[in-house]
Symmetry: D5
Subunit: 94 residues, 10 copies
Amino acid sequence: MITAFVLLDVQTDQVPEVAEALCDVEGVVEVYSVTGRYDLICKVKVARNEDLADVVTGRVGKIPGVAGSETVIAFRSYSPRVLDAGFALGQDPV
Amino acid sequence: MITAFVLLDVQTDQVPEVAEALCDVEGVVEVYSVTGRYDLICKVKVARNEDLADVVTGRVGKIPGVAGSETVIAFRSYSPRVLDAGFALGQDPV
Amino acid sequence: MITAFVLLDVQTDQVPEVAEALCDVEGVVEVYSVTGRYDLICKVKVARNEDLADVVTGRVGKIPGVAGSETVIAFRSYSPRVLDAGFALGQDPV
Amino acid sequence: MITAFVLLDVQTDQVPEVAEALCDVEGVVEVYSVTGRYDLICKVKVARNEDLADVVTGRVGKIPGVAGSETVIAFRSYSPRVLDAGFALGQDPV
Amino acid sequence: MITAFVLLDVQTDQVPEVAEALCDVEGVVEVYSVTGRYDLICKVKVARNEDLADVVTGRVGKIPGVAGSETVIAFRSYSPRVLDAGFALGQDPV
Amino acid sequence: MITAFVLLDVQTDQVPEVAEALCDVEGVVEVYSVTGRYDLICKVKVARNEDLADVVTGRVGKIPGVAGSETVIAFRSYSPRVLDAGFALGQDPV
Amino acid sequence: MITAFVLLDVQTDQVPEVAEALCDVEGVVEVYSVTGRYDLICKVKVARNEDLADVVTGRVGKIPGVAGSETVIAFRSYSPRVLDAGFALGQDPV
Amino acid sequence: MITAFVLLDVQTDQVPEVAEALCDVEGVVEVYSVTGRYDLICKVKVARNEDLADVVTGRVGKIPGVAGSETVIAFRSYSPRVLDAGFALGQDPV
Amino acid sequence: MITAFVLLDVQTDQVPEVAEALCDVEGVVEVYSVTGRYDLICKVKVARNEDLADVVTGRVGKIPGVAGSETVIAFRSYSPRVLDAGFALGQDPV
Amino acid sequence: MITAFVLLDVQTDQVPEVAEALCDVEGVVEVYSVTGRYDLICKVKVARNEDLADVVTGRVGKIPGVAGSETVIAFRSYSPRVLDAGFALGQDPV
C-alpha cells in the first residue's frame, strides 16, 4: 500500500464542510483539521501512485472550497520501537 | 489522546539516521520519509499538549541533524465513511 | 485550560470590524490590532483542542473579512520571574 | 502600557533553555513554546516603545540560541464581551 | 512622538492615486513611491500607538487600491553624526 | 537629492551596535531600530544613484553584523497636505 | 535540441483537464501530474529558445486553468553511467 | 515503473561536480543543470516508492555539495499526441 | 542616464500582448520574455529617478495584464573587460 | 546569440569585489550593482545554452562571495518602437 499525506489550504469559512466531504472520498483514511499554515491534513492509502491521481486531482481537488493542496508521498515508513504507554490501541484517533 | 504531526527539515545527508532516532522517542507512533518540501513527517500521540513540549522541544529538537521542525496539532479528527476496499487493516503502515 | 494564539490576515479595509466581531466569540479572551505581517492577533482559551476547532474553523473563519488565519497552540507556558516594576497588574491590557 | 508580542525562531535544540532565559527579562510577562512556524511567543509589557528596544534588541536578541525574532506591537486592544464560561480567572496561564 | 513606516502593496495601476490619497491622511508626514517589492512607503508620526490604529487600519487601509500594508514602528531612533556635506537642509525631500 | 531607504537584516545580538555604526556613515540621515521582519531601517540622502553604491555596498554592507540589506529608492516624493496637529516640527525624530 | 521543463500551478479542480490540453501542444513531449508544490510538470523539446516563447507564452499560458508557470531551461545534460537494471526501456513512462 | 523528479539546490561552486556524481547513482536516468531557482533537475525511475528512499535519502542526499532537494513523484503520465516534427527520437537528450 | 530593470509578473495568457505594449513606452529600451519566476524583464533608461515614476507607475503599471512589477535601479555599472569573441556587436539582441 | 540575465545574491561585504570579478568572465557583457532583493545583475550573451553552463556554473558560481544565483534566459526579445528622446546611443551604459 502507498501512504500519502495531502496538506490542504481551504477557504477560511469552508473548513468543516471540506473535512466532511473528504470523508466520502475512497482512499482517504484519516482527516484532521489542524493548527498552523495548513487547514486540513488527510492521510490517503492506495495501491499505486496512479490511484493517487484519481484521489487527489480527480476527487479532492474538485471539492468546493479547496484553495490549494500539496501531496507528499511516504518513501519509507519506519516502525517506532517505543509505543507510548499511555497510547491505548484502537482508541478514537483523537 | 492528542494527535499531532511534526513536519521535519533535516540535514540532507542525515535523513535515514534521524528517522531511526525518532523511532526511539516515546509518543512518536508513525515515522515516514516523504517527498516534497519536508524530509520527514512523524505522527505523535500524547495525553496533553504539555506532553508535546517534552516530545517536540525536549526530544525531537535535540536529535542531531534536525535543522527545523513545524508541529501541527489536530483540532478535530473526522472519520472517513468510505474505507478503501484495497485497504487491508493491520497491514504494514506502508 | 489550553492557550492558543490566532494570527489573522484580514482584508485591508475590514480590520476594526473583524476585531469587534472577534470580541463576540466565546473563548476569545484578548484581541489586538498589530503591526507587522499579521493584521490581528487574538488569544483563545478553551478546555480541549477539540473546542479550538469550534472557535477557529467554526466561528473565527466564518467572520466576513477574514482572509486567512494561522493558529498556534501553546505547548507549555513558562512563568516569568521578573514582573516589570512598571507593570501594574489589573491595568487595561493595553 | 504598551503590549507587544515577540515571535521567536530558536535553534532547534535550545527551545526550553531560551524559554527559561526569557523569564528573567524585565518586561516579559508571558512565555509560551508553541506549535507552528515559530518556536516561542512571549508577551512584553512596557511603558514606552523606546523601552521595547531595550527588551528586544538589548536583552532578548542577546540570548544564546535565538536565531531570529519578529516583534509586533499592539496598536489597539479590543475587549471581548464573551468570557468563556469555562475560563476560570486567575488560573495558571496554560 | 512615535515614528512608524507603512510599507504598502498597491494595485499596479493605482500607485499615483493611492500616494495622493495618503497625503490627505493626518499623521502621514512623508510619502514616496519606491523601487523594490513595495510600491509606496509612508512615514507616520503620532503621539501614541493607539493613534496609529486610526491612521493605519482606520484610514490607510480604507483607501481604494491598497492591496496590503505592513507597519513597522521605530523602537528607537539613532542620531547620525555625519551629515552628508552635499545634503542641503530644507531642499525638496527628493 | 536622492532619497533611499535601506531595510536591514542584522545578526540578532548585534542590532544596537550596527545602528551606532550606521550613524558614522556619510549620507545616512536617519536610523531606526524597528518592529517587524527587518531589524533596522535607515534613510539615505545622496546626490546621485552612483553615490548610493558607495554608501550601501561600500560602507553599510561592510559593517560587521549586517546579514542582509535591501535598498529601495524613492521614485517620487509626495507632499502631505495635512500636517498632524500634534507633530511639532524640529522635535526629536522619535 | 533545447530541453526545458515547465513547472505548472493549476486551478485545483482543473488538473486532469490542463494535462490533456498540454498533450496537444507541439513541442511538449512528456506531461506528468505530480506531488509537491507544483501540479503538473511537462518536458518541452524545441530547436531554439525562441520556439519556447511560442510553446510557453503562446500556447501553454493560454490554456484555461493554468494559474502560473515557471520554465527552466536545461543548460547542459549529463549522461548517467548507471542505467537502473530494473529500468526496462520502452516501458510505459509511469 | 515509478517516475520522480528531484529538484536540487546545490552549493554555488559545486554544480558540475554534483551533476557528475548524480550520474553514478542507480535509478537516475537523466540529469540537467538548469536555469531558475533550482540548480539541477534529475529524473529517477524505480520499481517502488520504497526504492526512491534509497536513491534520494540514501544516495543523492549524501553527495557533498547538495544543500537541499525536493522530490516530486509523478502521479500519472499523460501521452502527448503531437510529437514536435523537429524532435527526432533517440537523439541525445539535449 | 539612469538604468533600471523592471521584473514583471504578468497574467499567464497575456505575456506577448504586454511585451508589445511595453515597446510603446518611452524610456523602455529592451524587452524580453524570460524563463524563471518572472514573465518579462525590461530595461529602462531615463535621465532622473523621478522620470522612472512616470515610466513604472504612470505607464507600465497601467498596462492591462500586468499583475505585479518590481523595479531595481542600477547603483553602479561595471564595464566587462572580456567581450565574448563570439559576441558580434549590432546583432539582433537575441 | 542567446541573452540571459543572472540575478546574484552576494555576501553583503563582497559586492564590489564580485562585480569586478564578473567583468573578467567571457560572455558577461553588462554588470550592475542594484537596489532590491538581488545584489548584482549581469547580462550574458553566448552562442548556445550549453555555453551558459560554462559561464554560470563553471565561472560565475565559482567566484568567492557569490551566495546564490538565478539565471533567466530570454525566450524572445521585443524591439521598443519609442527610443527615449533623452537616450543618446553609445553613451556609457549608466
